[in-house]
Structure formats: C-alpha cells, structure tokens
C-alpha cells in the first residue's frame, strides 16, 4: 500500500511543477526562464517516476491492478 501512496505523492509533485509552469507563464510573460525550468523539473520527475514504476513491476514490488502474473 505504501508503494502506491508514494507513487501518488510523486505524481502530486509532478502536477505541482506543471502548475508552477503555468503560473510563471502568466506572471513572467516569457521574459524569464522560470516557466521552462518548472517544466524541466516536471519532465525530470515524470521520467524518474516512470522508471521507478517500471522497476517496481519488474521486481514484483507492485503488481498492475493487484494481479500478480507469474
């Protein structure tokens, strides 16, 4: 269960950085790097999460839909 909770928490961090990108797009109007930096963080965390989920399924730490395929 805690593995799934961890995935959800990391997903929230991704959504936060996506939202930050939108916010900076509105306030900075393209004059700073804050939007592109927030979006860079967003994709970096996404890739890390995807890799983690892949490894977790591979190692058997989590099972898709809770169904263990042997």
């Amino acid at each position: 269960m805690w593995q799934k909770l961890f995935i959800v928490i990391v997903f929230i961090a991704i959504v936060y950085n996506l939202g930050a990108g939108l916010y900076f797009m509105m306030t900075d109007k393209g004059s700073t790097n804050r939007t592109v930096n927030a979006l860079t963080r967003r994709i970096a965390i996404s890739i890390a999460l995807f890799a983690l989920v892949g490894i977790s399924i591979w190692m058997g730490w989590i099972a898709p839909h809770g169904v263990v395929v042997r």
Binding site: K4, I7, F11, I14, V15, L18, G21, L22, M25, M26, K29, G30, S31, N33, T35, V36, L39, T40, R42, I43, S46, I47, L49, F50, V53, G54, I57, I62, P64, H65, V69
Partner: protein, 292 residues
C-alpha cells in the same frame, strides 16, 4: 482582419470587420444538422456533416491565420497579450475540469459503486437481494457482465511503449523550449519536429491498441463500467494528443518563419505547456488505469 494598417498601440486592437464569426456560425450549424441527419440515417446526412466539418476547418485556418498576421504586424499591445494569457488560463481550467470529471467517474465506480455491489458498506442489502452471486473486483463489467467476456490490456507492451514515447516527447519539447530561450533556431526546429513525430507515433500505437482491444480482447466501449471508463479516458486523451500535435505542427511552421523571439513567444510557450499537460494526463492514466 487587419483592414487598417495604422494602429494606435495604446488602444486594445479590435478588427474593424471580420467575416469569421458568421462563417463559424454557419459551419457549426451545418455540422450539427449533418450530425443529426447522420444519426437519424438520412441518406445525405454524412455529406452535410463533412461539408460542415470542412467549413469549420476552413474557418479555424482562416481565423487563426488572421490572428497570427495581426500579431506579426504588431497590432497587439500588452493588454491584448494579457487577454491571451487569461484565455489560456480559462481554457486549461476547463480542460482540468473535463478530465477531473472522467477520472472522478473512474474513481467513484472503482472505489465505491463496484464494492457496494459486492456487498461492502452501504451495499450490503443490494448485494444480498439483487446481486448475491457477485463478488467485487477490478477490472469488471459488473454483475450482469455487460458486453460479454473481455481481457484487459496489460501495462507492459503498448501502454508502456506509449508512455515512453510521450515522456520522450516531453524531453524533446523541453529541449526545444530551452533552445528558443537561448536563441538557437536550428536546435529549436529539430527538437520541435521530433516532438511532432513522436506525437504521431503515439497516435499510431494508440490506434493499434484499440484495434487489438476490439478484435482480439473483446474489450469495447460497451464492456460495462471498465470498458466505458477506459475508452472515454484514453479516447479523449488521444483526441487531445491529436490537437496538441496539430498545434505543435503550426508552431513549428511559425518558428521556421521566425515569428518568435527569446522574450516574445507566448504561442510557443502555451502550446509547449499544453503538451506537458497532455503528457501528465497520460501519466495519470497509465498509473491509475493500467497500473494501480
């Protein structure tokens, strides 16, 4: 429409006349009439529908083209810029609400309704008297087995590959974004082009997956609650990827024409952000529909 070439930069630009609103109205009206005739199986219905859709595409092309030309001519002052950004905020708000409704439907069915039918919580009596033979599980098409037997698409295989493709496109669009900020045009065009190609590749695999689901797994839009939530979520996401790919393609041509500068590129930034948004929605789908 830009009928005047002399424009006061202190005034919010409003075209003196535009034919696009009436064309948009007629196009939408024709499309709706065509759709109504088609679902009622009137012979000429689909011709009317296609004519309406063609008029709609013509209108979008023409209207956006006018907006781009007005922007390039420098008719848009700071106030207009703010209104574009506000428009983007409202558009994204509606998008978030749109996907929240479908994700909400999935969670509600999966966390509450299906367990109730299985006899949990408030559903004890419903289970006892109506669906006594049903034990709740997910994925399911419910106690009546609506749509017949089906198999689900495993997280490995195409969904995994598609997630990889979309995430890679997230990297390439970010590299393009950095390149734009750094004023490196060649790099910008290359990586933006790769992003468009990856978007198309994603759509191709999505279509392949749907074909496989319909023809070999028995999983259709009619496969009870799992089938309907699955195809509603992934289908509307696919529609958004289609839109995003078209928008990125338009932005690629605009970049090639030199419409954007390091500090002045709202069109690019809005579309790049939208692509990130569509990517995050997919990541949510992959996690909540295929994995968790």
């Amino acid at each position: 429409m830009g009928q005047t070439e002399t424009h006061d930069p202190n005034i919010y630009y409003v075209p003196h006349a535009s034919r696009w609103p009436i064309i948009a109205t007629l196009a939408l009206f024709t499309t709706m009439i065509g759709a109504a005739l088609t679902v009622n199986k009137v012979a000429v219905g689909h011709y009317v529908l296609y004519a309406g859709l063609a008029a709609l595409v013509f209108m979008l092309f023409g209207w956006f083209g006018d907006v781009i030309r007005e922007s390039v001519k420098g008719f848009y002052n700071r106030q207009v810029d703010v209104s574009f950004r506000m428009g983007m905020i409202w558009f994204i708000f509606s998008e978030v609400m749109f996907f929240a409704a479908f994700f909400g439907a999935l969670f509600y069915a999966r966390m509450f309704v299906v367990p109730w039918l299985g006899g949990e919580g408030d559903g004890a009596l419903t289970h006892e008297f109506i669906w006594s033979g049903y034990s709740s599980a997910w994925p399911t098409n419910g106690p009546l087995k609506v749509g017949g037997m089906f198999e689900t698409i495993g997280a490995w295989g195409l969904p995994f590959l598609n997630t990889l493709i979309l995430l890679t496109s997230g990297i390439t669009v970010t590299i393009a974004h950095h390149a734009l900020r750094a004023g490196e045009r060649g790099k910008l065009l290359t990586f933006l082009g790769v992003t468009v190609a990856l978007g198309m590749l994603f759509l191709y695999f999505q279509a392949t997956e749907y074909y496989h689901a319909y023809h070999e797994l028995g999983l259709t839009l009619g496969s009870g609650i799992y089938g309907s939530t699955f195809f509603m979520l992934t289908g509307f996401h696919g529609l958004h990827v289609t839109l995003g790919t078209i928008m990125l393609l338009v932005i690629w041509f605009r970049c090639a024409k030199g419409h954007f500068s390091r500090d002045h590129h709202f069109g690019f930034e809005a579309v790049a952000w939208y692509w990130h948004f569509v990517d995050v929605v997919w990541l949510g789908l992959f996690l909540f529909v295929y994995v968790l």
